[in-house]
Each structure stands twice: as C-alpha cells, then as structure tokens.
Symmetry: C2
Subunit: 247 residues, 2 copies
C-alpha cells in the first residue's frame, strides 16, 4: 500500500441533463427512480464512471444507453460534491448537459426507457438528490452559451422554419423576441441554407424551410466570430470588440 493508495477515495458519477425541444417547450429527460434513495422521485439520468472511462465517455454512455443517440452535443457544466449530497456515502458528480433532436430519440429497451419521460423544463419541480440544483446550473449555462454560439440547431430537426428557430430561442431565453429583428439577425449571420422548400399541410401560408450550415459555422468560428467579409464591402465587424458591452 503506497502513500497514494492511502488517500481517501470516493465514488464518482456523471449526471446528464438531456435537453430536447418539442411543442414549443424546452424539455428535459428525467427518470423515475425505482430504488432507494429517493424511490419514486424524478432524477437526472446518471451513473458511476467506470475505471477505464473518462468523464465525457461516461456522459456519452449514459446518454446512449438511454436514448440510443451518439455524437450529440455534450457540454461539461459543473461538478457537485457536497459532503452529504448522497445519503449512502460520498459521491462526487460531474454534471453535463446534452442537446438532442427530440425526434431522433427512440425509446431504448423498455426496461430502461419505461421510466424515462420528457418534462417541460418550466414544470419540473423537486428532484432527487441535488438534481434540481444541477438542472438549474445547466439551464443557466445553456442560456449563456446559446447567446455565444449557434447551439440552437442541435435541438431542431434538420429542416426547420425561422419561426421554429425563434420559438426555440424564446423557450431557452425565456423571453419574447421580435420577429423581424430575429430574422434579420439570424439571416445576417449567414449560417442558414435556404432549402427552397416549404412546409406542407399547414392551414396557412407555408413557411420556407432552412437547414443549418455547419461548414459555414466552422469558418465563422475560425475567423474569431467575425462575419465574413462579403464583397469587400463590410469592414471588420464589431464582433471583435474592444470591450464587450458588459465589460
């Protein structure tokens, strides 16, 4: 037994706040606990991290076992380690959130998925453990990230209308946006591709469909979040500001 081995060790887990967007609501996938502690309460999906697995790997595994989805957007948010957060012993948990296209979500083996259910974020009440606090941290992080990077697209199906996109942003930011300004802003970012198709089967004027252009986004990032220089007309954009508005 070396000195190293003598240090206190703890169980550690990941918890994954899985966000989806459906029916105009931001939703989160919760699991009803079938065992103590907190039996019968809703909880975030999570599990122990295996010895041969890194943290992102564990979070991805949790996600995949539950939803069958791989390669979705995943972001580490914060680690929770209050001494008494788990009644059975010391457990440190690393909180992640993921963004999934809710239509891609297929119920996995009934045994697992039976107890899983999407909940509108605005209607989630108390959760098991400190999961409510974890959810709140992830929501806050999502809110701030969505203003910095075009994450919204991760939550929408491959084809969507501008109104869909606006509703998504409104749901995440918990605010109302002006339709004309929203469209102007989004289209000016030149991240959308007009699919030259329209909605079908709606009882009103059908909307145009767009898709997100991931390649353009990559360029967008590489240029330090500047707009592209189009036709040499637009000068360097304010995106690279001397000082950000809030300093």
């Amino acid at each position: 037994m070396t000195e190293f081995d003598s240090f206190f060790k703890s169980a550690f887990t990941v918890d994954n706040v899985i966000f989806g967007f459906d029916e105009g609501d931001l939703k989160v996938l919760l699991i009803k606990r079938g065992e103590a502690p907190y039996m019968g309460k809703w909880a975030l999906p999570g599990y122990f991290v295996y010895p041969n697995e890194d943290l992102d790997g564990a979070a991805n595994r949790v996600l995949e076992e539950l939803t069958g989805l791989r390669k979705v957007y995943l972001e580490q948010v914060k680690t929770f380690g209050a001494v008494d957060r788990h009644p059975f012993g010391r457990v440190i948990t690393v909180a992640y959130f993921s963004l999934v296209k809710i239509n891609d979500y297929k119920l996995q083996p009934a045994s697992i998925a039976q107890k899983a259910q999407w909940h509108p974020v605005s209607k989630v009440g108390e959760l098991a453990f400190d999961h409510r606090e974890i959810l709140d941290s992830c929501l806050e992080r999502l809110k701030s990230l969505v203003r910095l990077r075009p994450l919204g697209f991760e939550l929408l199906p491959p084809h969507f209308t501008l109104t869909d996109l606006q509703h998504l942003y409104e749901a995440i930011l918990e605010t109302e946006l002006d339709k004309r300004n929203f469209r102007k802003k989004i289209l000016s970012m030149d991240l959308l591709v007009d699919l030259r198709q329209t909605q079908e089967g709606v009882a009103h004027r059908p909307a145009k469909l767009y898709r997100f252009d991931r390649d353009k986004y990559v360029r967008f990032q590489a240029e330090g979040f500047n707009f592209e220089l189009k036709e040499g007309k637009r000068k360097e954009s304010r995106r690279n500001r001397e000082l950000a508005p809030a300093l």
Copy 2:
C-alpha cells in the same frame, strides 16, 4: 458491503490556478514539485479533497495554506478525469481559479512557500500532469468572465488608477485598448469611486486614485446588468438585449 460500496472509487483532488497581477503582467502561482511523479517540474497547487470537505472548501484550503488568504474570488472551471492523467492511479481533479491581490500574498511557512513562485502567464511552459491544459482552460474562462462581470478589481489593490485597470484588462484579454474609450466605458458603468487622491512619488503627472464600489456592483447585478436610470433620462439600456451580438 452494500452494492453502493462495491462501485469503483477514485481519488479526487482540486487544483487551483491562482492568478495575480503585477508589473503589468498576469501571473500564476506555481509550485515546484519535490517528489515523484514529475519531480522538479512546475505544477498547479492542489491537493486531495478530504472526506468532510466540499469542493469549494478544498479549493479554499489549498489557497489558504499556500497564501494565507481567505475569502478571495474563487470559481470552479472544469473537471479533468482522463484515465491516465495521473501515473499512480485514477485521480479526478476539479479545477478552480482564484483571483488574488498579489500584494496581499505573503509567503506562508517557508516549508510550503519555498517552492512557490509567481510566473507570468505568458511565460509558463510545460507543467506536470495535465496542468498545462488546466491552466489553459482557466485562462480561457477568465477571459470570458472578465467581459461579463467586473472581476478585474479582485486583482488590483484597493486603490488604483485607471491606467492600472486598463493594463490589467489588456493583460487578461491579450489585446490593446484605446485609452479614451476604455475610460469612457468604465466610468459610464458607475462602479468606481473617485477617492480624490492622487498618486505620489511618480515622475510625471500623478493619476487619480479610484476604488471599486462593491455595493454599486451588487445593485448593478440585481438590475439585470442595466445601467441605473439616471435622472430619468437614460431609458432601459441595451444591456438587456433581445439577442446578444453573437447570438
């Protein structure tokens, strides 16, 4: 032995990136390792988390043992858990950064402090373990936070000049700022108190001294980052934007 006890457990630690500002440079406090692994290499200060201690507590303890400082700004950044990040076994570490007023830093018991040294961030090379990666994450986080909240003041002595403050922002953001625009912006935020004193003993026109007004900042936050409504003239400020510039 319960099922709970049978799960894999790991050692876990905190590492603390302690930032200071001195001589126009952003600095970080590093420790020269006196033991294997990575003996003789520079490393971030860190230690195991005790069983009765939460994560913030551990980070604060590490900071206090090294610098004697309490109640400094501390922010959890990210958790690192690559399977092989520690050659002796599985160790998960939670990375924090702290902002200290470098003049307050007093060498603690020589036994500890002997090996500690401030390094300009721009001159830090390879570090032990994955500490270089941790440092980079913390730097990046600091850069983005400093644009959202007035953190800079945590790094300056209680009284400072506008030029000091500008140099600090330039060091953190790794950019040059326009003097007039910087002053306009900072003063318009109404977070500084003019101390009606000037520098002494400088071989040029002495600068006015200011201090940060923490109370005003609290109000500033509470109002959702709006400017105060002064004399009813200024309307709601753009700080609450419909959509942030980068979306």
